[in-house]
């Protein structure tokens, strides 16, 4: 057998394995939803609480056609994306400031620890009173929940950059800003991307909790409303939509990752 046929066999095996993975993934998906549907039809589970895929689907269709769902979804999505971006950018900026001034970072260290340990959603009521019950306070919730942990993780990455890279720049007479731009920031891209992935989930938490509290618009509002009128079709529909949107956001971050660090080792 020559190398060519061996290589083809190897590639064929790869394709086969990939198909098998996809097959089982699809199988789990189908089994879950059909099991749910069947259990609901035969009343093995309480229809009132657990609903069923077909009911959720028909509710989805009506809510789409009367336009309310798109309205709520777009509000929540905008809040989440903004909260996510602001939280990550602000966290990275704070990390850069801490890196810039080691003295400041030593001064602020215990405060960062306290802020990080504090449950940020507990700030919700204060935010809503201070900023008004609406868009601004919900975005702030989405951002505040991720900003401190981003600061801590990214700052640690900035500090962990191999000092020899900094030495190379120092021998070229680079100033602190140039050192940051040429070595510290690009060397920390992988860490920044992984905090982005964490922040996707965190900002959804912040925004949904914010909408619970404000209770006027958005998917979080739909969940509390469904809960209050005991319409669990609505609760589960909102949950499904959140799951899909969060997954899409995660995938977008992965695309960004591929674009940003394709040159890395």
């Amino acid at each position: 057998m020559n190398i060519h046929t061996l290589h083809n066999q190897y590639k064929a095996a790869l394709v086969k394995e990939k198909r098998l993975v996809r097959f089982y993934q699809l199988l789990i998906f189908i089994a879950f939803f059909s099991g749910w549907e069947i259990a609901s039809r035969f009343k093995w589970i309480d229809q009132l609480i657990f609903s069923s895929p077909s009911k959720i689907w028909s509710l989805f269709l009506t809510k789409i056609s009367d336009g309310t769902l798109v309205n709520h979804l777009s509000i929540t999505l905008a809040e989440t994306v903004l909260g996510f971006i602001i939280g990550t950018l602000l966290g990275t900026l704070l990390a850069a400031i801490l890196w810039w001034s080691p003295f400041l970072s030593r001064v602020l260290d215990p405060y960062l620890v306290i802020l990080n340990a504090m449950p940020k959603v507990a700030l919700g009521p204060i935010l809503i009173v201070a900023l008004g019950p609406g868009f601004t306070s919900i975005i702030t919730m989405g951002a505040i929940i991720s900003v401190i942990i981003t600061t801590i993780v990214v700052y640690t990455a900035f500090k962990g950059v191999d000092p020899n890279y900094l030495l190379v720049l120092q021998t070229f007479g680079a100033n602190r800003f140039q050192t940051f731009k040429e070595a510290v920031l690009p060397a920390s891209f992988p860490t920044i991307i992984s905090t982005l992935k964490v922040n996707v989930g965190l900002s959804w938490v912040g925004v949904i909790v914010g909408e619970f509290l404000v209770s006027s618009k958005g998917l979080g509002y739909l969940i509390t409303y469904g809960f209050q009128v005991f319409n669990f079709n609505l609760v589960l529909l909102s949950l499904m939509i959140i799951a899909v949107c969060a997954t899409v956001m995660y995938q977008l971050v992965e695309l960004l990752e591929k674009a940003l660090i394709k040159n890395d080792r």
Binding site: T171, F172, D264
Partner: protein
Amino acid sequence: MNFLTINHVDHTYFSKQTATPALQNINLSIEKGEFISFLGPSGCGKTTLLSIIAGLFPPTAGTVLLEGQPVLSRDELSIGYMLQQDYLFPWKTIGQNITLGLKLLKHDKEASLSTAMKLLQDVGLPGVEHQYPRELSGGMRQRAALARTLAVDPKILLLDEPFSALDYQTKLKLEDLVSETLKAYGKTAVLVTHDIGESIAMSDRIYLFAAHPGRIHKVFEVPNELRLLTPFQARNHPSYSSLFQTIWKELESLEHSYTA
């Protein structure tokens, strides 16, 4: 006037628990175009001295003058520093890596690029400017690092064990390349090494250091007939082995004086 003068340099590292004397009373001077080696056991302060010459930090006492001016107060870039590993930036292409120094000095982009191409040619790496460091072998990367160091046209090159991470054959080839390139550009250089053979083959003068605290133990002049040869040819010359023996014995006696 000497090109580089080191006067009564002492250096001590301080930490909360200890003060480590790393260098004691170092005096030496280097002429323009000379190639000098610092040879000695681990921990004898070679890297410390090189960093002080580079002006990375001030010595605890003493002065370092380059062309009569203290290195720390010079504002033009005059030092090229090469490390044991290449430390090419993995997210930059070879071309971007080599022009990095010029970019920081705000040189014209086009001119920098043509400098980079010429240097890549000189170090035997034509046509790799669009590749990334990970696509190159260890030896090629160290050549690229040499090109990056030379790109800013430094007055003096400081080489801290630049060949020690390479395999033997690559190391021999690179010694020749560095030696010839530096001669062609008329550069002054200081090489730090653990390798007696390398110091003889490459340099004009060898400073043998002793440790605890780091100080100059002895100075060896490399005979003229070896200086004229390439490092590879020098290694096969009869005077090479006699000098090797002399330095070897000296190093041995240093070690004995510790254990005794």
